[in-house]
Symmetry: C3
Subunit: 671 residues, 3 copies
């Protein structure tokens, strides 16, 4: 989907907080900075519908017209993330009940029961009012539904709906008892009406992961319905305008693959922490690109300067916003949007960075940087909008797996799915190997390498797909904590990794948990190309029993010193590597290098360390992003082709040097 | 106000826990130790009024007579801090509701709703009963209302009263919406009836600081009314007996300047921690003296030995109680009172120190120390009772500023107003420069130096007062986080520090937050007198744009290395220093020394380090307190005048040596 | 009590989770491993009674018969720890209310109100149904009631029952007021109906320890009644079958001495942490043996491999389960039972170790170890079953003392009774001196040494018993925090340690609390045999006033340097040592050695460090357990007698060497 013939540049704007003079002045600043899209009115339900069914859209009409006059597009938001006070007080059931069983009172945003029919009715009504009114407005470019969904509610309505959801899923109570293994601890249920929501009131310590797992699924489904409730209304009036909601990205609490199914295009908010590795930010972008099978997405929010809600809100360093913006484009974003255009004078986020700060004028470092970037993006044009990436390496990632793995009690409390996947991602990323993040439903056939970190839960036929992938010649990486449970978190019989035993060529007899300060070692008896003799490892140590696999390396310590911890199994035309522990990053980097060489997967260009390179292509043009993350200049070997740097308009070739923190966007010059 | 012609010496006594023989024995010990005042019956409501309107004062009559016979005055307490069980069970609305929305059950002390009419009615009734009964009793010296107020209640009565309070404050709901900036996140209210108390039920993370700020103001006002409810009754019968409540001192939750307005004299409880710097204890005394514009106060409680409620309750070292007692007198106390005279045999505080311990006799280290002190205080007499201090340095301190600053989300979570003010206080204190703690309402005209640490909130015309102060020749110190918001926590437009920009001669473009382990540096290009070349700094770093100010020092690190962090602006006849970061203590000490020299403000005498010197004066006599905090002897240069040490009755002059931890109280000998 | 003519070997089995084929296969594995007892059906209430009064025992009949056929005994469990869903939903009052006042919902196990009459009625009914049905079944060997009691409930029923309990205890409200010292903070009660349960709703910080103490007593009494409710039913039908409940061992929340009174034999669950010292595990076994005056007990549960609910669940090392099993037998266990026989496929504990793992077969390290142990135990036979230990050293331990000591506010928050007792225990344990853990009710007359760590609470005439013990020639060790309060936590008058002052020959004037990082020192002026010159100490430091005792050592630091911290008092024919601080372990070890020598108490044999030796005897035979905890071989000097090692069937004598982690079970060969 090509959302526009340019890179949308702008962000959230809350003109309902400002007087007309300020707004008029803002238009001048927006033009100066190259802003071409604003998102609004995200939080204006109370103003647009001051009482039930009473609408006041006059002020928004004026704004819409003003933007249209100024050639600024609008990402038009249904204001349904923050219901008006009258809705909460007249219908208290719209307010959520928290995990402690307490009915909340009107206050925060994203503070409603996602299953409340009254909420859904009023949300659909205002969405329809907006759709009818602005369906043909020239400023309307994209729809935006609500904002950063993610509330968990435990009210009686949710309890009733959860029972309905379970009946649909399991058909009858005996089947539910079997799937939840309620015989354990004698938790048998005789009727769906006896199902209690998993809350603080009945759960002291993860008493039944299967219930919690289903509740997380139910909350995702309910939230997706909440989105659809407005989506349907908007599409009725404007079938051609894309509809999205800005997701908090990689948050654990909602299965974003499921949410993505309902959206025309993915929108997400990128708020990295100062301590995040650059690979982690890239990883999150690639998750977003993966949610709809590689389709490009909207970067809906990022901060033009420091945040306010982190413990220590560091200023964005000079050039940092530009670097982050290009990194987004490099990984699949078609837009570059900020929260927020102008800093609020009060409220929780009054110290959140903005394009125009409390100082109220354009004589600031931040404004100057935003303006420079605006001009660069205009020069780049639409070459990369709607473009795709081509990856030969895929990493499996699944929210059900994430939930179940971290709900498990034992063997270690430090189970961290996201950071484990991120470590494997990083191993390829640092070598500029393009990676796709794949759900269990993805087609694996186009890939040469599949990495499946902690594939704890087998479902959706994933083990058969993996077997076929390897049998057909693919290279697979499996790790500890794989193949343990089915989709209801019931353990496999007949040893781990269950149905993956054949492809792995081994079974796992036991798994030791190490204290955080403890380490073991990985030692090769015979060196593999590109590997060192020894690496450190920790966290978990599988005690492996090989069947058809060959040992590659062994533990160095403890009673299992000398036992295999890393193996390879030839299976059909392919190979499966198994890593029975958590190795240090260097091991993973060396493994990634070695198997990429085997599979003939390589980076677009050779470059100095710290230089990130990605390629996005449409049917007609390839756009190359080069980002120098170093605090010194660095080189890329472009070879003999001549490229045009869209930022500087210069042609470049051969040894190409970028200044510290500089960026280049290249397209072939000889077209 | 001169509360007595002697220093009151004694403390809390709970004779309702003891039999007659024990009480008779206590009288003998009291006489031996020089005790001349006891406070009671703080916790005897249940005994005095065993059922509604049924009073039993006989036992108290006997005690009052016994004290009178023994020449011991009574600080007579209304017992209203701990309502009887019948009041809680008959009228459950007197019990508070906590921030989680839970109605508490009868149990703890200070455990009532400060807005409950029933509580107020019964409290006034027993106060009246006591006032009528003892108005002419010879033992009655001071009134004491309740004890250490400070409960926050969130019950329906408080909710209703808060709405009334808001209507009075804002007049109409539109004005409230504007002042609370409810447009942010669409929190518009259509009626005061929609205002919900800020509790855990609607606030996950400081969702609207303005509401919380107003609630803190409301709780202070309600608590002050609670005090006034009894005050009025007592004054009706005994207009000449001073009325106070013992405050927990510098606690954040109540605006003690507001509480002070209602009290005849300040009473407070001094419970330092073993780790407290001596300057911090002095600072708290000076806050107390500042609450009523320099009026002396009652030290109502301190511990004669270890506490019981600290994590590690260290014994008071030999001489430590004496040192702390003199420090109180040195800073403005007119009394020296303890909690408690005799140790309880049971309950939460059974291991709290007491003049008479569980051992039950006078053969203890603690009793001997108390006795020695009692004899010294008798020798000192009333020279300092009701006396004043003369300070040329004032530090601004305001509870609203404290609340709002620490409610703010961003830039750093480690905002700590009290410890920041304490650091500036310490810079002067260590040089024996007398300091007044000033509310925003204070008259600044008599001061030469005003320090305004983190003057985040501008209100009550404080910026104009500050401008005038500097214009008239004063020296001002401003810091980072100044001039950001108005009294409703709404940010200033047109750059920080808002209306203080002119006097500061600069504006602050951005403020970086440092991680706790991070440091930056302050470097002088040209040395100022008394300063070193370099200092470390941290926490926050302002990026400053100078207008009329001159740069004095610059940052040493990060992308803003070389940019100004410390400046001086000549404004009218005065000067304003601006410190854009949190410097190490040495920097502040050098700055204090330098500007004191400029302003010709100096210590009473030169002395060795670790010797504290203060002066208190009445119209006729000056009393000089000298306290040696060192574990070795130390010297003071008294000059040519001859002074009489009231403790030893010796005349001293010239080079005066004090033993380790010793104290002297001097008055001019040649009067 | 001799529970069987063999060591019961087996554990918890949940066949209701398995199909018939799996169960048949399990019988084969059980026989292979020497399993002779299984515990069931602990969690099958929902299956056995699918609706009120509707029973389904057919499946259990089949199992019982199957076990009988296979010569496997059954420890038959009433399934009352986990009530069925219908019971919770039909009678919500069976669900507990938590300390925050929240009625729980059906979910967890051990999740019922122990005072609910409806719960007790239905529990007794199913117990009766089982007793009637299986009273004559050949497989029935032992009864097992519920499982790991320990829920605290705060519901209205408990509130009412607590008031009844208090009325019985105190007779009238005046007496309660006196005993609770409610005069403190004016908490006087006029009627038992005003007593509120101590919950989060009325207690912010240990507001009245006396109430909490009584509530803990009440919960123990109520829980014991809950047990008795079923016990009575079972005994009616099977007077000769022993009845027990598996206790969580040394848990603080229930007074296990009180629980023990109701049980025929003690059962407990041993789940050591990987970081536990071996002495701590031995200590817990000795507590269990102490609960019924030295009677042997059932080890009901231990894990055949890692746990799942610890933060880091380490594998049991090779041989570790064997070592732990023999340590249990060595200290008084008559059984060796595991949780669990087969690993669940789902639920909270699916990763808990089991004899048969998810792999489902016998080809595992764990199975092989279990099998080896089974064969060894069979070889050992019944020599030690029902056997006793003979100890000359007793350590006093009391739950009321534990509760009150740790409820106290002050002098230090780090009060830890269990670990303090464990330190004194360890001092003797490491020298292979047998120790009895004694309640206050124990007969002290047979002991030569009594250790009374932190004997905070004096009650049940314990001080008189101690005086007599010393007077008659015994050696006593007293410590800091002794003799402070009576059974209602009211402090003694007339100085600590109250009634123990005479025997100690001193009084304690003050007690200093040290910060965790602070240390003081213990210094001898004149060396005692076996002691070093100096030791470190910390935590608390008593300031002691000697009366008749002689000083042995003094503090090295602080203002009390040079004052006595360790003393000895000759009293009658005996001696009392007083330790006024917390010394390092070496001091206690040296003290233990010295007084054992004085009292002529010695280890069974001399052995290398790390070798544990215990002796258990019946009237006819003495069984000696030797356990080498070292990772290298070690020696024991057996002397001239010849012993038969029941494990290897070899005769041994003189210098006997055990391999690393090896075990020997010896009986005299020449009988």
């Amino acid at each position: 989907m090509k959302i526009a013939d340019k890179i949308f540049y702008g962000g959230d704007y809350n003109p309902d907080q400002w007087d007309n003079e300020t707004i008029r002045q803002d238009m001048i600043y927006f033009k100066e900075a190259g802003i071409n899209l604003v998102t609004l009115p995200v939080f204006s339900w109370a103003k647009l519908e001051p009482d039930e069914g009473v609408y006041d859209f006059g002020w928004l009409d004026e704004l819409m017209n003003l933007f249209a006059e100024n050639d600024i597009s609008v990402c038009l938001a249904t204001p349904t993330v923050a219901q008006p006070a009258w809705l909460s007080s007249r219908y208290p059931e719209v307010l959520p009940v928290d995990i402690a069983g307490r009915r909340r009172t009107h206050g925060m945003r994203v503070f409603f029961c996602y299953n409340s029919l009254k909420y859904r009715q009023r949300a659909a009504a205002i969405a329809e009012e907006m759709a009818k009114r602005y369906q043909n407005h020239p400023a309307l470019a994209v729809w935006h539904v609500a904002n950063e969904y993610g509330t968990y509610c435990y009210c009686p309505i949710c309890q009733a709906q959860f029972r309905v959801w379970l009946r649909k899923r399991y058909g009858n109570i005996d089947n539910l008892n079997e799937k939840w293994n309620t015989a354990f601890w004698g938790r048998t249920l005789y009727s769906f009406e006896e199902v209690m929501l998993p809350t603080e009131l009945n759960d002291d310590y993860r008493f039944n992961p299967a219930i919690q797992l289903d509740y997380m699924r139910f909350v995702t489904d309910s939230t997706a319905e909440c989105f659809e409730n407005e989506y349907r209304v908007l599409k009725k009036y404007t079938p051609d305008i894309p509809v999205q909601t800005n997701m908090s990205g990689y948050i654990k609490k909602l299965d974003q693959f499921k949410m993505a199914e309902k959206m025309d295009i993915i929108g997400w908010d990128n708020y990295p922490w100062p301590t995040d590795d650059r690979s982690f930010i890239a990883f999150k972008h690639d998750i977003m690109r993966g949610l709809k099978n590689g389709q490009s997405y909207m970067l809906m929010e990022q901060s033009p300067n420091q945040q306010n809600w982190q413990p220590y809100n560091k200023l964005k360093r000079p050039g940092e916003v530009r670097l982050l913006s290009y990194q987004a484009l490099a990984h699949g974003a078609d837009t570059c949007l900020f929260f927020q255009m102008r800093q609020s004078i009060g409220g929780q986020e009054k110290f959140h960075g903005a394009v125009i700060s409390h100082a109220g004028h354009n004589d600031t470092r931040v404004f100057r940087e935003i303006k420079q970037l605006g001009h660069e993006l205009a020069a780049i044009g639409d070459a990369c909008v709607g473009a795709y990436s081509s990856s030969k390496v895929g990493i499996l990632m699944d929210w059900n797996n994430w939930w179940a793995l971290e709900l498990a009690s034992g063997p270690s409390k430090d189970m961290n799915y996201l950071s484990t996947v991120a470590k494997y991602y990083r191993a390829f990323y640092e070598q500029n190997i393009s990676i796709d993040i794949l759900g269990y439903g993805a087609d694996l056939s186009g890939y040469k390498i599949i990495v499946a970190p902690m594939l704890y839960m087998l479902k959706d036929n994933i083990s058969a797909k993996i077997e076929k992938f390897v049998n057909d010649g693919g290279i697979l990486i499996l790790t500890t904590m794989s193949g343990l449970v089915d989709e209801n978190d019931r353990c496999v019989f007949g040893a781990y990794p269950g149905p993956l035993r054949d492809v792995a060529g081994l079974w796992v007899e036991e798994t030791d948990a190490l204290f955080p300060h403890e380490k073991n070692g990985i030692e090769f008896s015979e060196l593999l190309p590109g590997f060192d003799k020894r690496y450190s490892c920790g966290f978990l140590c599988d005690l492996i029993r090989l069947t058809t696999a060959e040992p590659l390396a062994t533990y160095t310590d403890d009673f299992y010193a000398g036992k295999v911890c890393f193996s390879r199994n030839h299976y059909g035309a392919g190979k499966a590597y198994y890593i029975g522990t958590e190795p240090e990053q260097a091991f993973l980097n060396n493994l990634a290098a070695e198997i990429c060489q085997q599979a003939k997967v390589q980076a677009p260009f050779q470059a100095d360390e710290g230089v990130e390179i990605t390629v996005r292509h449409t049917e007609t043009v390839e756009t190359i992003f080069i980002i120098n993350h170093n605090s010194a200049s660095a080189c890329v070997q472009l070879g003999n082709n001549v490229y045009n740097n869209r930022i500087t308009a210069e042609d470049v070739s051969g040894r190409f040097e970028l200044a510290a923190y500089d960026v280049a966007v290249l397209v072939r010059a000889n077209r």
